[in-house]
Amino acid sequence: MAGKQAKTRPMADGQASSGKLLDIRNLRIEATVYPPGEAPKTITLVHDVSLTLEKGKVLGLIGESGAGKSTIGLSSMAYGRGGVRITGGEVILNGRDIMKAGPRGVRALRGREVCYVAQSAAAAFNPAHKLIDQVVEATLLHGTANRAEAEKRAVALFKKLSLPNPETIGERYPHQVSGGQLQRVMTAMALCSEPDLIVFDEPTTALDVTTQIDVLAAIKDAIRDTHVAALYITHDLAVVAQVSDEIMVLRHGRLVEWGGTRQIIKEPRQEYTNALVSVHEIEHQEQQPGTTPFLSVKNVTAAYGGGHVKVLKNVSVDIYPAQTLAVVGESGSGKSTLARAITGLLPPEQGTVTFDGRPLANRLADRPKEDLRQLQMIYQMADVAMNPRQTVGTIIGRPLEFYFGMKGRERDKRVAELLDEIEMGKGFIDRYPAELSGGQKQRVCIARSLAAKPKLIICDEVTSALDPLVAHGILKLLLNLQQVEKVAYLFITHDLATVKSIADSVAVMYRGEVVRYGSKSKVLTPPFDAYTDLLLSSVPEMEIGWLEKAIKGRRMASAGN
């Protein structure tokens, strides 16, 4: 990084020498919304937030969705996404207010002084160009190095980010590398022009837990070695604790708490921070499997594409009444396919699914209504799992009508009861899904499946699209409902913290096979097989220095590496 000092920049006055790289003062960000049929109104997304960042330091911005983290992060590049306007305050970068820089000035600093790493690298890369061309683009555009130098720098960064074949990986196209690798290439792209500041916007959120740990370690090393400052945006406190020096907690566009990483994690001063830190504690007494399972999956093999792509190989699991079987594994391990095989959406090629002692028909179309009623499903994305043109009353009422022939007042009464059960109340009966929050949507989906009075509810990643506090509420609700309704869950997840809090038995899946299966205490107690060990050790813990310990201690490299 010898070229660093040689760079000269225009400075407004002498104030930049104080060591402050970024100084945001009383930032106010607004957007205009256009509700149909009403006058447009202006809403404030960020209220008077101030922050400072010194050279080479990492500040973590944390909060739930809608907290304004990304909006604040992007303001450091004088950018407002999707019609968002920066209406007040100053953003001082390297000693000058970039809000006053004008379009030309802003173009000169983006990609040179500040770079951005997006959440979904797969969506952020241009699929038509080779990686290396995209990595060196900003450097060449700003003329800070010639092509040969820039490429040399890129290869060095690929090496530092421990990408395989650093000399040749740049010759590939974005679809030819894995998601975790792509995220690291994107980090290399940000570092290539040797900026002073990088904005990381949820860089590991879309990745598998086993891949996340590698990317996280690579980012951390790269930040340390290049002395770049960073704003690290995430909703996962355990992740941000690994990489940042300071943490800023945001909520509804307002500052909640700002302090050193250790202080925020160990001694949070605000109630909200405390709730975030202690979110994973759910009391659940593990139940021993009963004598007879009511649903058993025996030696099921399933494939897509007419038998060419085997996604389930010889899978056997049992589910006991009113208990929870958690199925864990990374993406592509066949968890969701198992659910599809059980529901009959994907008829298995071999093996059987028995329910109450008799085999279930393989195909959905061959199953009687009663069997369909007993198996219900809740989806990951609650917004697309409900018809946007039906009211909550219709959505929950339909299974009542369909399975039990309930009509009119009787049906409405039961819908109101179900709404009470999911802690929402009958005031929601006439709402449309678009008028509900993310957590409420998922609750309505739960009520819809409960309405059928099923024996088993398949929960496919039901909390992974939700903010931690909301997800916590949903898990607690599911556990309470299990007590009341005596329903069993097949809980598909990649999040081991969730497994620990709600499961009775656990099946670990890897590449279409069940690699470890048994009661929760048995599965989560050593000695582990190599994959379970990797999975368990990859779950971020809210502890400083966890990352280094985890990387050192593991026995198997993750698949995305």
């Binding site: 369909l372 009623r373 989806y379 994305m381 697309v384 043109r389 369909f402 899904p433």
Partner: protein
């Protein structure tokens, strides 16, 4: 909903479309003279007695226009209704059932669409007896290919969404999936298409009548009236331009209404904002 939330353009469209519809429905009461009644000289100029003058046979032009509105809109509405019910139901079914049904339907529609509509219509109508029913059937079926394409494309997208899968898992029949899950969500593009298709039906009918294969004398739709009076243009008589202008104004006003309906139905909060 408050009336003053309706935008000006929608008002213009609503008033004009309403006026046309009123004339069409109450033609015998609104028109000052009978449809085929000869009341004066050939191509009399506009006067207090005959507001729009008289036509090539000395019939009152405004009365002819009003009866023409009735015939034009009757056939166009019926043909559009037919093309929409046929096209959307077959399109949705093709998307939901898939497999050989989809392939068969889609290729058949491709086949129909590969023949220019007007030429196809002319050939069929020169063979079949020309009456209102044949016209409606020919126009409706030819137009339904366009609606089929659109509704199938929209339904294929909706069919793979989780809420449709949830309905399938519940055990719902195809009819529920088509009419209750897919149709409400496909309505916005279909309503937009409805306005356009209605206007194309009016234009298609006018073209057929102009060529002498549409509505037969003594009845006449607007296209036929353009044909009857077209020779007057050489002598500076505007009788042919009046039905032509009516076609244009109807086209614009119906689309203004369709635009407004589209804006309202795209809201996912039941139009209550």
């Amino acid at each position: 909903m408050a009336l003053r939330q309706i935008p000006v353009t929608a008002w213009i469209g609503l008033i004009l479309t309403g006026a046309f519809a009123f004339c069409a429905i109450f033609a015998p009461w609104v028109a000052p003279h009978g449809n085929g009644e000869i009341v004066g000289d050939v191509w009399e100029p506009m006067s207090a007695a005959h507001w729009l003058g008289t036509d090539n046979l000395g019939r009152d032009l405004i009365s002819r226009m009003i009866y023409g509105a009735r015939i034009t809109m009757e056939i166009a509405v019926a043909a559009t209704a037919l093309s929409f019910s046929l096209g959307s139901i077959l399109g949705f079914s093709a998307a939901v059932f898939g497999g050989w049904f989809d392939t068969l339907m889609s290729r058949f529609v491709d086949l129909l669409m590969s023949i220019p509509t007007l030429i196809f219509g002319l050939v069929v109508l020169s063979v079949l007896p020309t009456n209102a029913l044949t016209l409606i059937l020919v126009m409706g079926i030819l137009d339904s290919t366009r609606v089929y394409r659109l509704s199938r494309a929209v339904a294929v997208d909706i069919n793979v969404m989780d809420f449709v899968e949830a309905a399938k898992l519940r055990g719902e029949g195809k009819a529920w999936i088509i009419f209750r899950e897919i149709l409400p969500n496909a309505l916005s593009p279909l309503v937009a298409e409805l306005g356009v298709r209605f206007i194309f039906a009016v234009l298609f009918l006018s073209a057929l009548s102009f060529l002498g294969l549409g509505v037969q004398p003594p009845d006449s739709d607007w296209g036929g009236m353009v044909k009857e009076n077209k020779d007057g243009i050489v002598f500076g008589i505007p009788a042919a331009l009046i039905p032509a202008a009516a076609i244009a104004v109807l086209a614009i006003s119906v689309n203004l209404v369709a635009d407004w309906v589209l804006n309202r139905t795209t809201s996912l909060k039941g139009g209550r904002g």
